[in-house]
Symmetry: C3
Subunit: 281 residues, 3 copies
């Protein structure tokens, strides 16, 4: 089912505008190329709208945000909204500083978002639940487990309805939910938390998938789930490839290589998820 | 013939000032080190001139430009001009936004440039031909082929004369031209378009080669051609090294490794080009 | 003796705030993760203090500094000082431009620093000795050798006393000194100078080690020496792993891999240093 979303990306080769942090920006550009999309990075307010206008989708990632780029995020976001381009928000470090939390709040209130992709602490911080994000990482106490899975489904669903978006929470178990359905995804590798950029790359990948889904009139929710499974399976393939001297740097390379080499069949076969449809109202 | 230009770089170890985008800046620094040059990155107007003054050459790359760095590009460029340092311009995304097109136009009109290195759509956009750059990538319709090669030679030659620079257009067939001669270069690998930074790295490499050429009083045109052949051969070597699990990330590493390991003999032997001298006037 | 400092990092997993340059920021984040720490990058003045407040230590790296980030460096530094967090300064390119030299001077005069980590030319430039830093690299004439080792011990010791910090000078022989003791460290590989970021990564690693040392009430001097030995041994391990087609990009990956795979025992066994205690006053 999900394999066709990768096919959609490769066939439509969407051009993605990314306003993103300077820590992982190279990885984000490379993962977009690896999956079959094309990246453009531009964050000056004098060109944010013009660049958005020639693209098909927009990633807004608030890591290393500053007063100059926040303006550009809003300008690009409003232009993307006018043009009907999917926007994915990655609220990196929301909950870790008031600037990040407030900026993410403002983006959520002012822009129509195709998806919000974060870790559980970031999403909780933005939902109004009290959560202290551990820098840009999730707090251990917020972890999604089999025991609290339904609680998190309900949480994600409510937020998806309130914000009119897909809520996409990455972790050992990922949750990808709109107001009607939710995926619990079990792909991935613990090594993904040992490199910087796993989350940022996933957000960029998500933008590619939802942009291709928009072009092909397929499901936004499934597109996000497909991006998550692609990343998770790539993590598994990368982990399988690790030799005795390999460490986190080799893992990062193998991860990108695995996205580059991913096939639709592999995505269909290796995706591990449960899909829940809500029927309670 | 071209191998000695690599030798020049290794023997003179030129210090290169780069005002460049934050997407591929790490790759640019690493390719300069790989070829035997030394990189410095500095983009604040309070030090742009001072850093230029201690270097031998300057790369100006307008990817992720902003109002702050545009000022620094002009300051550094004018200082480099005063000191007789070669300047290489990479007009990343010219044609994709008015800001980029206008900034590149201004840099071309105000600075003496050793070379302008871009893809065909970027160079066309700056020449006044109408061209819509596809983000930071060339438009398929602009492609240089065997059929339109002479047309592109003429185009590059006229531009080289008008701008008093070497016009260096990268693509499946590269064109490197001044007003008297032109190289058509056939080295390279299709995988180079699957990673970010191939173009930016080539521009930085070009600055190293022209700076060493200036120091050793050798040909600027041949220096640019040598940089292009170095990159193209490195791409071929990297492609040859790809294993079944390797993808775009491994290719990027192999590409840089291949520049690091490139020998003068290899550059002489593997370079694939036609050199045309104009005799028509 | 030094192995326990790596253990301290892995057991305390310190969260490190880095205000650093955009050239090597990804490598800095990845080396912090590789050693067992967690990175956060944030450079806007509206959040610099808030981010520092949730972290345990702060790296200030002045490569690609600008007027905006200099303010943030001072704000974050003063907050870290208030909270008793160790601060490591990397004066990248001090001596190469007045802006860098003056900014480093100001940071040294205004902030209590756990360590200053630079190459010999940078440290000399800041000490008031005349030295012209070769871009961001040391001048050959400044080199630490067996012949001038005592001279450099004395130099570092005086500076450590004057600035009330650990002076940490990297080079073929590293010198790590406070006012009472000094390490001369001989680990490392010449390939480390063929990639960008060796110095920046070492500074980030140093912050992780001193932050963990602070938490565990162990020696700051030894913590810095342990960070230097970790990096040097990782360089040796990476060099040992180089195959015939490998070059600088593979070396960079192997270096990070080696930090990721470093064991306490390896650090204890492979560390090559002389420790000198001053008894002259």
């Amino acid at each position: 089912m999900l394999g066709r979303y990768l096919k959609n990306v490769r066939e439509t080769a969407p051009l993605i505008h990314n306003i993103t942090n300077y820590v992982t920006v190279n990885d984000c550009a490379n993962i977009l190329l690896a999956c079959g999309a094309l990246p453009v990075m531009a964050d000056d307010q004098a060109e944010a709208e013009a660049i958005t206008a020639i693209c098909g989708g927009l990633t807004i990632n608030i890591g290393t945000l500053n007063s100059r780029t926040i303006v550009s995020m809003l300008l690009a976001g409003k232009k993307a909204a006018q043009l009907g381009h999917p926007i994915v928000l990655d609220p990196v470090g929301a909950g870790a500083s008031p600037l990040r939390t407030h900026t993410a709040d403002e983006l959520i209130s002012q822009l129509p978002l195709a998806a919000v992709r974060g870790n559980i602490s970031e999403i909780k911080a933005l939902s109004g639940s009290s959560s202290l994000t551990h820098g840009v990482d999730a707090n251990a106490s917020d972890k999604v487990t089999d025991d609290n899975l339904w609680q998190h489904f309900t949480f994600a669903r409510k937020l998806a309805k309130a914000w009119n978006t897909v809520i996409a929470i990455s972790g050992e178990t990922d949750i990808v939910a709109d107001e009607n359905k939710a995926f619990a995804i079990k792909n991935g590798s613990a090594l993904m938390s040992k490199i910087t950029g796993s989350g940022c790359m996933l957000s960029a990948l998500t933008t590619a998938y939802v942009t291709a889904a928009k072009k092909t009139e397929t499901s936004m929710l499934e597109a996000v789930a497909a991006a998550f499974c692609t990343m998770g399976i790539a993590g598994e393939n990368a982990a399988d490839r690790m030799g005795s001297l390999d460490g986190s740097a080799s893992f990062r390379n193998y991860l990108l290589d695995a996205v580059f080499n991913m096939t639709e069949e592999e995505l269909d076969t290796k995706a591990k998820y449960e899909l829940v449809s809500y029927t309670d109202d």
